[in-house]
Symmetry: D2
Subunit: 264 residues, 4 copies
Amino acid sequence: MTDATPGVIGTAIATSTPDAIYVRDRNLVDDLLGKVDFTSMIFFHLRGRLPEPGELAVLNSVLVAVMEHGLTPSSITARLIYSSSPEAMQAAVAAGLLGAGSVFLGSMEDAARILQEGVRGIEDGITDAERYAKEQLRRRLDARQTVPGFGHHIHRPDDPRTPRLLAIAEENGVAGPHVELLRVFSRVMDELKGRHVTVNATGAVAAVLSDIGFDWGIVRGFSLIGRSAGLVGHLREEQEQPLGRHLWALAEAEVPYLGEKGEQ
Amino acid sequence: MTDATPGVIGTAIATSTPDAIYVRDRNLVDDLLGKVDFTSMIFFHLRGRLPEPGELAVLNSVLVAVMEHGLTPSSITARLIYSSSPEAMQAAVAAGLLGAGSVFLGSMEDAARILQEGVRGIEDGITDAERYAKEQLRRRLDARQTVPGFGHHIHRPDDPRTPRLLAIAEENGVAGPHVELLRVFSRVMDELKGRHVTVNATGAVAAVLSDIGFDWGIVRGFSLIGRSAGLVGHLREEQEQPLGRHLWALAEAEVPYLGEKGEQ
Amino acid sequence: MTDATPGVIGTAIATSTPDAIYVRDRNLVDDLLGKVDFTSMIFFHLRGRLPEPGELAVLNSVLVAVMEHGLTPSSITARLIYSSSPEAMQAAVAAGLLGAGSVFLGSMEDAARILQEGVRGIEDGITDAERYAKEQLRRRLDARQTVPGFGHHIHRPDDPRTPRLLAIAEENGVAGPHVELLRVFSRVMDELKGRHVTVNATGAVAAVLSDIGFDWGIVRGFSLIGRSAGLVGHLREEQEQPLGRHLWALAEAEVPYLGEKGEQ
Amino acid sequence: MTDATPGVIGTAIATSTPDAIYVRDRNLVDDLLGKVDFTSMIFFHLRGRLPEPGELAVLNSVLVAVMEHGLTPSSITARLIYSSSPEAMQAAVAAGLLGAGSVFLGSMEDAARILQEGVRGIEDGITDAERYAKEQLRRRLDARQTVPGFGHHIHRPDDPRTPRLLAIAEENGVAGPHVELLRVFSRVMDELKGRHVTVNATGAVAAVLSDIGFDWGIVRGFSLIGRSAGLVGHLREEQEQPLGRHLWALAEAEVPYLGEKGEQ
């Protein structure tokens, strides 16, 4: 996917003159502002071309799906930091994004990598979907590892977002080999475990983003964009109806002091 | 704008059951996913209702306008952090957002507050546009302060984004008293200075967001959402064609060691 | 305090050669490593000379005093982020430091500025301690503002750290006009309020750091250094006996979903 | 090293009453403030006991060694963020710490883990120093991986900090099996490569911290503490003699706009 010239130093993203701003060689004011929506602009910024309608539908659905998850470490953090530092909303959003680490986003990235490496192997004739899924799943299950894209602590037996995300890709004609491979993984997983295992939203997001051409290395970025919007919403609520002090008081009241644990 | 009940602890943003996720009382999967675009979802998350077409057009134009500004402290920071910590893309985006502080975003917030306080005063019959603009501008000019929403170090005599943003609001029928007041400020500013002063994009963004009903306290949030998308684009370029090491080397080569400055 | 040459670009902090590292013109390995303790090095880095024994005693006591405060927004945040992103301890410490904002550190900075401006005024013969304290306190009390350095939500009638910090400065012969002015403020405050008001640790830290010559603009930095050490301690406990998930579950269990609040 | 009781929720770090603060069961004011220096307090906070003189000497030398490295991604970032957000010094320090990621600190952690796993294996009679070093080094060299603790881009043939750090541990009687194992690694490394390879400060820090009993999992924390102090020093210089704007201008001037790279 890269077209970088080795050793060349520079950026192709943006430049300015006194009367114009160019983003990836298009005039921001004449060609983009008022003509493209934010999601199309995100796609354009990353890919250098505007999205086709199906690509746009999928990217919108992904950003809508990852935006909000209620009170999580990420939104709790943003609210605590905002209550300590209301002059710096950017610090609250930044702190909240730091909660979007390996535990939550690592699995989305891993799921996308597994699917993309599989599709490449299938296209190169090195493996087939069934064999690849079996190998990948057996190795992880034997090592008692979690499998990226599978399982959920609340949504069982099915994560309601998963069929909807896959349907959106299909209805818009952009479901391809990665969605197909995810379905094979799901079938093989159920056979190996002898019961139905949830395909979570992370797995579905990984598959549909892969089918519209995003490299697994940037998949985490879409969560960060969506989450930043969700966090701003939490901070708006925090401005009107603060929780930060209450969350602090809860921690003080409910976490006992254990006294000394001894020397180490 | 607040409808919080004093003393009530809680959140109205989101909740989950095993087979459903609700965001502000709507079923995420049945009512939102695949039906609303990301920008509409941002509006809905903040306001509890979907935007009208004109409101949506304005919010899209604002997010597109603030997304990308080339190599700024924010994007340089994101690239430096990514080169030090490629396992944690969220840290690079978070660090970049920390650069969206008072110097860059404070003026957007201040411009929105000045316009909203002015419109309130006019509606309450306490002042009129001409008088309010004169008072506000004279006080700042006399104190040799910058005026939020005015001036630009590159874009002169006019910031090309400003007329476009205002035109989008007008063409979509949502320009109102804040855009009008900004125009009065501009005319009075030119009279007081005896020359044309640039109305920058910050001023235009403040006016159009105010006219679609956003409180000045949350205005900074839209920059953070837009900027997070811009930063992800810079990190994608950094993955393909790294600048981080080069920027570090530049600093080392071009910033001399001055030796000891003496005791303090 | 500044000795910067206007327009000169450079740094006087550090430089390297293949076989040596210089920090503020001293050879790190030959002159500092093994010869100075960490606190002396912090003082040296900021001031370009090593501390006198009294200065060292005061700086140590300040860093010890600000290091640990139990479960606060700062340490709760660090633990939540660590549980989400255990591969990036730096993200957890960074997020925790973002909680050291205006609400907690602003008052330390403000207290130092008030004391330093007062001492300057007294030395210049413009005011005297009694008059300055009365003016400063009356203005804030009349405006129903908090007074930096006064009041505490737990430690009443006295913050136990305050007399100890002031005594350390006095015993070490480095208490000076800022400690003296703080005492005048305390006496005047009690007179104006008709009861004893707590002088908190923030006020004491501000006074003793001012008396050993630190400008109010850098006072916040010592809290950040001390707090970073405290946060590392919390993360060590988090590694051994995790609280992060429990804090998350507490928030989910104890913060009710309020349903829709209506449109805005 | 852990003494956590599984399933027990709580903290043993700190608690407060109206007239006292306890840190790990000691009264902060009566037992610690004015009696222990900052470095001893850091040790105490992590270990629940005060350090022996040799342990204190080593910890001081480590914190002094890691504190300052000149203009690195970390300090450049802190200065850029400070110039954008001077009202929030904590944001600048936080952003700088985010630059202390895997590229710089991962190797310190890895070096400590390799040494600690080796010493455990030797003590358990599973391996011996020579064999362990050969296995570890050959595996990495064969895979063309970097070896944690070895190599430096400026300091050749030797990092001047390394012999000094090891000598401090030895002179203070706390050098033990990890320092010894590091020396074996160095000898074997030179044999395998047929030339002398630099043992860098990272390797030395890992060895001496291991010999005074710190688990590899917390080793990264000492860099964060030391670095936070270094960053505060850079921000003090930034207040007096700003570099932030210059670093931004450098990036704008020296990184060319490459125009469009084509679609992806």
